[in-house]
Amino acid sequence: MMLRRPLFWLIILLAVLFAWLPQHGNNVALREDLILVAVAIILTSNLNLMIGYTGYVNFGHIVFYGLGGYVGLYLATVRGWHLVAAALTAGIVVSFVALLFGLGILRLRGAYFALATIGVLMAVQSFVANFEPWGRSTGMYVAFDSYAPLGGPRRALWFTYFLIIGVMALSLILSLGIKSSKFGLGLFAIREDEDAAVVLGVNATVYKAIIYSVSAFLPAVAGALMFFKNGMIDPSIAFEYMLSLEGIVMLMLGGSGTVTGSALGAGLYERLRSYLLTSPHLSEFHLVIAGALLLLVMRLAPGGLIGWLYRLVPRSREVVE
């Protein structure tokens, strides 16, 4: 079923390219660029499950990434777990926490839900900033000997990179799988008209709680890997509100509700941001340009790049999902 869809193979190809290209000549700079793109794709495609598929705007999606980073780093450094076990556990713990939060705040709809997600992000951030075992506002560092089980720092960084590329591919395949499942159809029904969906037998409460929890899993795993790679974490970088909002910009740019759009928007925006931030003349204006871009996309192409492609070439829907 999945194997017969062209996009599935495109995702595999993308992941293989990401994994292969920087190894060519040990190009560490390229690897660092691609890792940021991969993380942006992970965050955006999972955010798409909430915003694009279910129609619930989550402003605090970054909370999963940050919490995952904290749980993962705590297990990997303080408790001395293997990185893979720590990251997976982080994903499970954060998904469970998300399920609990979700059961509470998913009773809200529309703008009320959006506001509540900001509240959750801020509350979690200030809790972590006061939480003694996680180093309060100074955060935690990765002890140098934590890299030893992975064969030293150099090999550990490459290992983490491949894991993140794997998580990126899984995120996109997850989005693709949900899109064509009965569960996905239920989510689309909730997006179009929640009351009508309930009347037609979609258990909206359970569906929403499940997708909120699912959309937390891979970002949390990615957070654990990424902060392990960076070697440190603190509350202000783990729960960056701006990054959370930029994820929404990426999604709108590519085309909300589509798998390809979330990846494309994330990749393009992330590259644009890196370019602007490092450019000597434009670095101060990166927010201005991003804001203007967002306004333009919304006015001229509200369906994002993929929506625009659909209009231009209607048959592209069969390949670009």
């Binding site: 529309g110 959006a114 509540a116 967002l294 306004l295």
Partner: protein, 286 residues
Amino acid sequence: MSGVLASMIDGLLIGAVYGLAAMGLSLIWGVMDVINLTHGSMIALGMFGMYLLFGAIAGNAYVLLIPLIIVGFILGVFVYWLSVNWVVDRPILMSLLSTFAVNMMVIGIGTAIWSTSPYNVNFTLPGITVGDYTFTGNHIAAAISAVVIALLLQGFLYRTRAGKAIRAVSDNRDAAELMGISSIRVLMIAFAIGIALASASGALVSTLFPFTILSGAGYQLKSFVVTVLAGLGKPFGALVAGVLLGLLEGAVSPFIAVSWIPLIEFGLFVIVLILFPRGIFGRATA
């Protein structure tokens, strides 16, 4: 004990300023169902407006508030046409994103001009000393200014024809159109008043604490908390809720570390949203 009381009075004074910022948010929400994410940047512009104007004229900072409110209103008209007019009645995501886009641009330009280092407005009024405690004149003057502006708005909404039109559109836009009210003009005026209130509160904050171009974000989040406490779309309730929030901050700050206060505020925010989506003053209607 008297220390707690003094801290609560101080919180109450600052709370009036929180309330003023939230009134703008609440008015815009109530009239056009738009959550204005430019609010934080407009508060920040109010701060820097006061900084520039006070630097140029150096009069009484609280008199300079009047021209700043007018500038804020004009700015509001501009922002309305740039980012709000075409998303009214569209899905909520659209208005959130378009106002957020403007927010990013303003913060970006502001960062380029003023960087993110702190500024302050060097203006002090004599304070009032009661026993061991001194309440600074600025806190008192800021609170009085906030309450006066709030009362003026209340008078405008309930005593003038234009205010009546705003309330009518807020109640039922289609019915108001049928009664011959040009709803686009009303929406524009309401939005501009909301922005004027944001910049006024920013200008007041600038006389109390040092600020950066990013400071507005914190006050925007507090405005969300206050607006939700009051129930969205109830401007005067927002002032009362703002005072309550300030009172709460003042009451708990002598007992716990300041860093815990955001957790209490946002925890309260989420719980109130879930349990009382119409606000603590809201009536349960079907």
